[in-house]
């Protein structure tokens, strides 16, 4: 009898702590995620603004594309294609 009462009380405790923790964790995750998104959106916006001032970057990007192409060709050649 007592054993069964223990079992029930353990199950209730586990439920309480379990659901509590699930909510705690996911609520925390909501806030952390929102914070992360805000920070990144700000950074992205700033770098976009910079883009307008600094046309170098897009040139760099183009160069990068070219480098990429050369490298891909090299790998293809290496693989004996």
């Amino acid at each position: 009898m007592e054993q069964q009462a223990d079992l029930i009380s353990e199950a209730l405790t586990l439920t309480m702590f379990g659901m509590g923790f699930v909510f705690l964790f996911l609520t925390l995750l909501v806030f952390v995620t929102k914070f992360m998104s805000i920070v990144i959106q700000k950074i992205n916006k700033r770098s976009q603004d910079d883009d307008h001032h600094d046309d170098n970057l897009s040139l760099n990007d183009e160069l990068d594309e070219e480098t990429k192409f050369v490298i891909e060709q090299a790998i293809k050649m290496h693989r004996g294609a």
Partner: protein, 376 residues
């Protein structure tokens, strides 16, 4: 003559006990559900076939050095197969809708109450003497309510390996039944007006956010609940491979060849746990019953949570997406969409429901971590 006797005495016909015959039929039922009814065939077909192999009298395929037992020991006892599948699921998951509307994480939290309610139910049935479940058994059964196959299998292999077969079968069967189980509950708990709520268009999510999210998730797990780290770690790893965009060949293989290979062997190995003497117990009936209850309660709690959140927020959530919080990706989200269209033919809830849907995966893994920490 002696040889004829030996041959006869070794036939399956002669060695069969009634339980094995019944289990052969159960295996064929699973194949029927998989092939004809299209119930999660990727898992139920291998599980069903494994069940048949495991119950062939005298073959011993699921015992000792039998091949299915080898697959079980190597793949499930070690935890490798469910974790690798979870990595693959991660590589197939898009957190975009969740990141666009993070508060839907709470719907994924609420739906986990199905897990704990089922645990309580199992213990309740034990105290009134209907079944005889220990607390670890009850916890493993509860996770069925999480509606994530690999999570269920992982937890069951840690806490209640004897019940693994029944738990896996219940888990995948009910996932397949989501389109039948959920709609009546969803309709009962919502008004027509609530079901017609149109939600704000989701914003586009940048790649940086998608890359950082899995790492952040893992860090939070690492700091708060290390026992959930294997599951959520592999999940986050798969997702990071996909979103990072720098290891596409690894991500592609994970989403295809690797997850397919592991699925085959996982299914067969789970099937090996459907041997008659283990499966044909009153407990199995209890598990099937409780699993159904778990799904129902999880669905209800998700919907109710959505309604509760609407009390405190001006950006109204359509409560139909709450039911997707049980996970069962992507079936539950499709159900939300379908029920929504019934009330408002221009209201596409699918993407909105994907948020709670993947949140439910995280929520169940957290609940699993709690169970393993307290009872493992």
């Amino acid at each position: 003559m002696e040889q004829l006797n030996l041959l006869w005495s070794n036939t399956g016909l002669n060695q069969m006990v009634w339980g094995q015959g019944l289990m052969l039929l159960v295996g064929m039922l699973l194949l029927y559900l998989a092939i004809v009814k299209n119930f999660e065939p990727l898992l139920l077909l291998p599980i069903g076939f494994g069940a048949i192999l495991a119950n062939i009298p005298g073959a011993g395929i699921a015992e000792g050095s039998g091949i299915l037992h080898v697959f079980y020991v190597i793949g499930i006892e070690s935890g490798a197969f469910p974790l690798i599948i979870f990595m693959g699921v991660g590589a197939l998951t898009d957190f975009g809708p969740l990141l666009a509307n993070p508060k839907t994480l709470l719907l994924g939290a609420a739906a986990q109450f199905g897990i704990f309610a089922t645990l309580l139910g199992a213990i309740g049935l034990t105290t009134i003497g209907v079944f005889d479940f220990s607390l670890t058994d009850a916890a493993a059964i509860g996770i069925i309510g999480g509606a994530d196959g690999p999570t269920s299998i992982y937890v069951a292999s840690k806490l209640a390996p004897d019940l693994l077969g029944a738990i896996a079968v219940a888990s995948y069967s009910y996932m397949a039944l989501v389109p039948l189980i959920q709609p009546p509950i969803m309709r009962a708990l919502t008004t027509e007006k609530e079901r017609q709520i149109e939600m704000v268009q989701l914003r586009e999510v940048s790649q940086s956010e998608k890359i950082i999210f899995p790492i952040m998730l893992l860090m939070l797990v690492a700091l708060l609940l290390p026992d959930a780290a294997p599951l959520l770690g592999m999940f986050a790893f798969g997702n990071l491979m996909k979103e990072s965009g720098v290891v596409d060949r690894l991500s592609d293989t994970t989403q295809n060849a690797l997850i397919n290979i592991v699925t085959i062997f996982l299914g067969l190995a789970v099937g090996s746990k459907l041997m008659a003497d283990k499966f044909l117990q009153p407990e199995t009936l209890g598990i099937l019953l409780l699993g159904m209850v778990a799904f129902a309660i999880g669905t209800a709690c998700g919907v109710i949570m959505a309604k509760t959140m609407n009390l405190f927020s001006k950006n109204k959530i359509n409560p139909l997406i709450g039911s997707a919080g049980v996970s069962a990706v992507p079936m539950a989200a499709r159900v939300s969409n379908k029920v929504g269209l019934e009330s408002n033919p221009h209201n596409f809830l699918l993407m909105h429901a994907m948020g709670p849907n993947v949140a439910g995966v995280i929520g169940s893994a957290i609940a699993a971590g709690i169970m393993i920490q307290f009872l493992g």
